[in-house]
Each structure stands twice: as C-alpha cells, then as structure tokens.
C-alpha cells in the first residue's frame, strides 16, 4: 500500500481514539521535552562559560572566603569573614608572591542609588583603584579611583552607563551627588558602555573605594573576594600556589583540607560550571531515558490493544488481498505516527521551556544567557521518537501480520 495512504489510515485510526492516543504518547512527550531542555540549556550554559572566558582575563585569579564548595553544605562557608586587610598586604608583597601586578579587594552588594527623585537598583562594588585594569574597563568621562580615595575612605563613585542614564538622563553626572544608604557620594567618573557582554554587570555598577563601602555601607572589616592579576597567563599556576602558601601561613593552616579560602583561576571556573552542567545533563538525560522507555512500553501496550480490537479488520484486509508486509507496515506506521506526534510535541514544548528558562536565567544567573535551540535538537527529537515507534511497535505489528485471515475473521 502506498505511503500516503498508510499515513492517512494511521491518522484516521489514531483520531478514532484521540484521548487514548494523547495519553499514550505522554511519556514520549516528556522524554523528548527533557532531551530538548538538555540540548538547549546545556548549549546556553556552554555559551555563557565561553562568554565569561572572554569577559575575564585569563591572567586574573579570584580568591574567595571559605572552602571550595563541593556540596550544598559548603556554600554556607562562602559567608565567612576570613579574608582581611592584612591578606591584601601580604599578597602584594613581591617577596611572598612574585609576578603579581595588581591586588584588588572586592566587596559587593545590591542596593538603591538615588539622585533627586530618581532611584535605581544598582550593583554596588567596593574595590581598589586597579579594578579598571583588572576588569578591562575604560572611563567614558571623569577620573579613576585613587589610592588616596581608599586611604581617606572618600565618598566618591564611578557609575555604569545605565545608572547614569536612569539617574541623570541628559545631565552631566560628573561632580553631582548620589545617595546610597543615606551616604552621599560624589560622582567622579562614568564607565564606557559595555552592553550585553561579560559576567560583570558593568552598566548597572556603582564603583566606590572598598574601604568606604566596608565602613559606611556594609559595616564589615573583611572583603568578599580578592582579585589578583599575574604578569602573564603562564605564571598563573605558580601564583596560585604562592597565594595558597601565603594565606595558609597567615591563617595558620597546616592541613589544606581545612582551608578557609579558595583560589579560582579561569580554568577552575570553567571546570566548576562544567561540572554543574554535566550533573544537570546526566540528571535530565536519565529522566529522558526513563520516560522514553516507559513511554515506549505504553506505546507497545496500546498497539497490542489496538491489534486485539481490530482483529476482524485485519482478517478482512487479509481476505481482500493484504499481504503480511502490508499489515506489518500498517501497524508499524501507526505506532511511528503516534510516537512522531509525541516527538514533535516534545520538541515544541522543549523549545518553549528552553525559551522560558533563558528568560529566567537571564534575570537570575546572567543577563547574557542566550536562548539557543540547535536544529540538531529538532532532528534528534523527532528521529529518536520515530525510532521508538519502530522498536516498540514491531512486536504488536508482527503479531497482527502473523494472524491467519480465517481466524481473524471468525473473531467476534
């Protein structure tokens, strides 16, 4: 029988039991949806990692307080106060850690900045003067922070371009005063607009001397992170080792297992995100595999029911001249149509969810999270579901094809 007629007949047979057909393909839909999510979100995470690599110099290492997070309980330690002023001095000492050009302490908070009646949620960063070089930022106007500003705890600020636009509009912000937590800061510089690139939210940022932020805004004496820039990418592993030795000495730690800080290079960051995305991929792929197998068994079950229900029809078709392979083809085509419809639905739902995830991740993880939906995912989704239709439809179809026409016709 011709392909087109097989297809029309299959649609016809499935439409006769629309609800049953839909329930049957649910497992396939869920499985394919999960695969689509893995491919789309995994791809998004990959792109983001690449983006970070681009936005952050490979010669910069980051020191954070607390042990390196290896499990959920370790994240609590991120909030320890182990990194202090004296560590900064030691790290800047070329005798202890040679090959370092800049040591930049960092404190961070989300807060509200106000100018006149305008207010705006900003990413407050307290840092040292070298922050501009380390993050590769340039000023559109004004002057950078100075060592003197840090020493004097000066209330001066450099603002990102979005902050400037929201608070000042067309006005020149240089020399104006903005308020954060009832402290008045004089704007001394405006950052060049970066647009959507890098992990650092440059355009939403307000940069102030870290000493000022510690004292007047946060009320702390420790720092949230220390950025150390090495002279070149080649010396990064050695600098990392020296940093660890220095900090352990200062913190009187003999067992590296008991570190109250951790050092991350760009390679480490990429690896860490890689591990997270691998875990996610394995998890979602298992869900996909399980629901595809369960879905496939459901398909097999419903096709066996269909064959039993339509025994007379099979007998009739055979009496009218259908060969074994005609009946085999008919039922195989039906199960493949069933799973392919499930696959197409899974692809569509997966694409929608991936888009939704991209919107959410953009708001929570990074503004640069991109929505990608590779065409290979569509091909894979529909292909896998089609193969499932063949695999799980084969036994019922063979059963139908093997029926004796006379026995089938006698069936009541």
């Amino acid at each position: 029988m011709r392909l087109r007629h097989q297809f029309i007949a299959a649609i016809h047979a499935l439409r006769a039991n629309t609800v049953r057909s839909l329930l049957t393909i649910l497992g396939i839909v869920i499985g394919i949806t999960a695969i689509m999510l893995v491919m789309a979100v995994g791809r998004g995470a990959q792109d983001l990692i690449l983006d970070q690599v681009r936005g952050f110099g490979a010669e910069t290492i980051i020191i954070e307080p607390g042990r390196e997070p290896k499990g959920p309980s370790d994240f609590v330690e991120v909030f320890t106060d182990s990194l202090k002023e004296r560590d900064l001095a030691a790290l800047a000492d070329a005798a202890r850690v040679p090959g370092v050009t800049d040591v930049v302490p960092l404190v961070a908070q989300v807060t509200t900045a106000a100018f006149g009646n305008e207010t705006y949620r900003v990413q407050l960063r307290g840092a040292g003067p070298a922050i501009l070089e380390v993050l590769r930022l340039t000023l559109a106007s004004g002057v950078p922070l100075t060592e003197d500003d840090v020493r004097r705890r000066a209330a001066v600020a450099i603002i990102g371009d979005d902050v400037r636009e929201q608070l000042f509009g067309q006005q020149d912000p240089i020399g104006q005063r903005i308020r954060m937590k009832n402290v008045s800061f004089r704007v001394v510089g405006v950052l060049e607009r970066k647009g959507e690139s890098g992990i650092v939210p440059v355009d939403h940022m307000v940069l102030v001397p870290y000493s000022t932020a510690q004292e007047y805004l946060l009320g702390i004496t420790h720092v949230h992170a220390i950025l150390v820039r090495a002279v070149s990418e080649q010396v990064v592993p050695r600098v990392k080792r020296d940093v660890e030795i220095t900090l352990r000495e200062l913190h009187r730690i003999s067992d590296p297992e008991k570190d109250d800080f951790h050092v991350m290079t760009q390679v480490d960051i990429v690896q860490r995100i890689g591990i997270i995305s691998t875990i996610l991929t394995v998890l979602l792929t298992s869900i996909a595999a399980i629901s595809l197998v369960v879905g496939g068994i459901g398909i097999m079950n419903i096709m066996l029911v269909a064959v039993a229900e339509r025994t007379r029809e099979i007998g009739l078709r055979k009496a009218l001249g259908a060969r074994r392979r005609d009946i085999l083809g008919q039922f195989l085509f039906e199960s493949v149509t069933l799973t392919a419809v499930g696959g197409i639905m899974g692809v569509a739902i997966g694409a929608s969810l991936a888009f939704l995830a991209a919107v959410i991740f953009r708001a929570t993880v990074s503004p640069n999270w991109a929505f990608t939906f590779p065409i290979s995912a569509v091909v894979l989704g529909v292909g896998v579901s089609g193969v499932l239709g063949v695999v799980f439809g084969l036994a019922p179809a063979r059963k139908a094809a093997a029926m004796s026409p006379m026995e089938a016709l006698r069936n009541e």
Partner: protein
C-alpha cells in the same frame, strides 16, 4: 477444465488431543460460471469449506486445485494476491470498516492491487452504481440500511472483477425483503456477467436462486443436485 476441483478434502481443527474433524473427505468440481449454493445444518463444515476454497485457510488433507494449480504450491503472498485479484468475498456480517465512507470501503481491495491510483475512484464508483448505490458514495456504513450495507460489500467484492465470488450467508442478517433484493442482485451479476458464485445459505428459498446445490452433513457431501430451470426461484423472470 473445472475452475475448482477438490478431491478427498479434509480439515481437522485443534491439537492432537482435542481434534474436531470439520471436513471428512469431500470431492466435487465447480466449473467457471456456475452459481452454486452450499447448504447443510449448523456445524456441517460449510464455512470451513468456503474458507479453504477462498484461500483463507489451508486443508489438512486431500487436494484442492484452483484454475488447474495445486493450492499447496502457492506461498502466503501469492495466496493474498490471488484473493485480491481472482476472488471476492461477501460476509454475513458485511464487514465494512466503520467511520469510513462507502467509497473508501470499496476502494480497499484496490489499495492492495497493482492498479494505478487514478483508476481507483472510477472503478469503485462503477461497482457501486452497479449495485444501485451510486447515490450513497460518501455515506458511512452506519448511515446505510442493512441491505444497502450488504450491497456495498458486494460492490467491494466485485471491484476487481474476480473470477469467483464467495458469499457466507449474505442474507443471514437481513430481513426477507432486502435479503431477496441482494439475491436478485447476485443472480443478475451471474446472468449478465457470468460471475462464478459460491454461496452458503440455510434457507431453501435462497438456495433456489442458484443452479446447483451442494448439501453437507457432518463434514461430508451428502447431495449434489442441479436445479431444473423450472424449480428455480421465479422472482427474477417475473
């Protein structure tokens, strides 16, 4: 040469320990163009015989030659092709596909034939017009009366111009009026186109439309009788 030749044909159902002999050695011949009625009490093996003659089942003993060739010599696929091209079947229960138009139902054998698709519709329409259903092409079986459904089934059986038409109690589910109409149609087909028709029936009145009656009892041919023209049902000549 006879179209159908059976010699000591046997059919036993079941396994070794529970055997049901349905045909216990039957021999007869039917020539092309004959109109034969098969009669006999329930369980006498009529349907069993028809299934074997129509290649829907294989005998367990004896021989069956169709058009000069031994039934044993055909593969399953060849049998399917022979059913498609040289045989038409009409069943007591009509066996039309539900939710499918009459036209589509009549097209079903064409789908399994070599005939090009563009000829399907005209052939199906011609067959339906022939049985008086030219105005019911797009009705579904549920929208037709029993008599009309059986006529649609006859159109389906005729659509590929078979050599022989098998009918197992075609009037069994019909009232006497539509039953008679169906029988008149079969008789017309026989008279005008010379179709070979082999028909099972319980009723003498129905059998009297045929030219010859094979009477069975307990799996054996009890009587093989040619009906004189005068004895045949006269409704046709009226």
């Amino acid at each position: 040469m006879a179209l159908i030749e059976v010699d000591h044909l046997q059919k036993t159902y079941g396994t070794d320990d529970a055997q049901t002999p349905a045909l216990r050695g039957v021999s007869f011949q039917i020539a092309a163009g004959e109109f034969v009625a098969i009669m006999g009490p329930s369980g006498s093996g009529k349907s069993t015989l028809l299934h074997i003659l129509g290649f829907l089942d294989r005998p367990t003993g004896g021989s069956y030659r169709f058009d000069g060739r031994h039934a044993d010599s055909f593969s399953d696929d060849e049998l399917a092709q022979l059913r498609n091209q040289t045989m038409g079947f009409v069943f007591q229960a009509f066996n039309l596909l539900p939710r499918t138009t009459v036209l589509e139902n009549v097209c079903l054998p064409l789908r399994y034939s070599q005939l090009p698709e563009r000829e399907w519709r005209s052939r199906a329409e011609r067959a339906l017009t022939r049985v008086g259903l030219g105005h019911r092409l797009h009705h579904t079986p549920a929208q037709l009366s029993g008599g009309e459904q059986q006529r649609a089934a006859i159109a389906r059986a005729l659509v590929l111009d078979p050599k022989v038409l098998f009918a197992d109690e075609p009037t069994g589910n019909l009232d006497s009026v539509s039953g008679r109409a169906v029988m008149l149609l079969l008789r017309e087909l026989h008279a005008e186109q010379g179709h070979t028709i082999i028909l099972i029936t319980h009723e003498t009145a129905t059998a009297e439309h045929a030219e010859r009656v094979l009477a069975f009892r307990d799996g054996r041919l009890e009587r093989d009788e040619r009906l004189a023209q005068s004895r045949r049902a006269d409704q046709f000549t009226k």
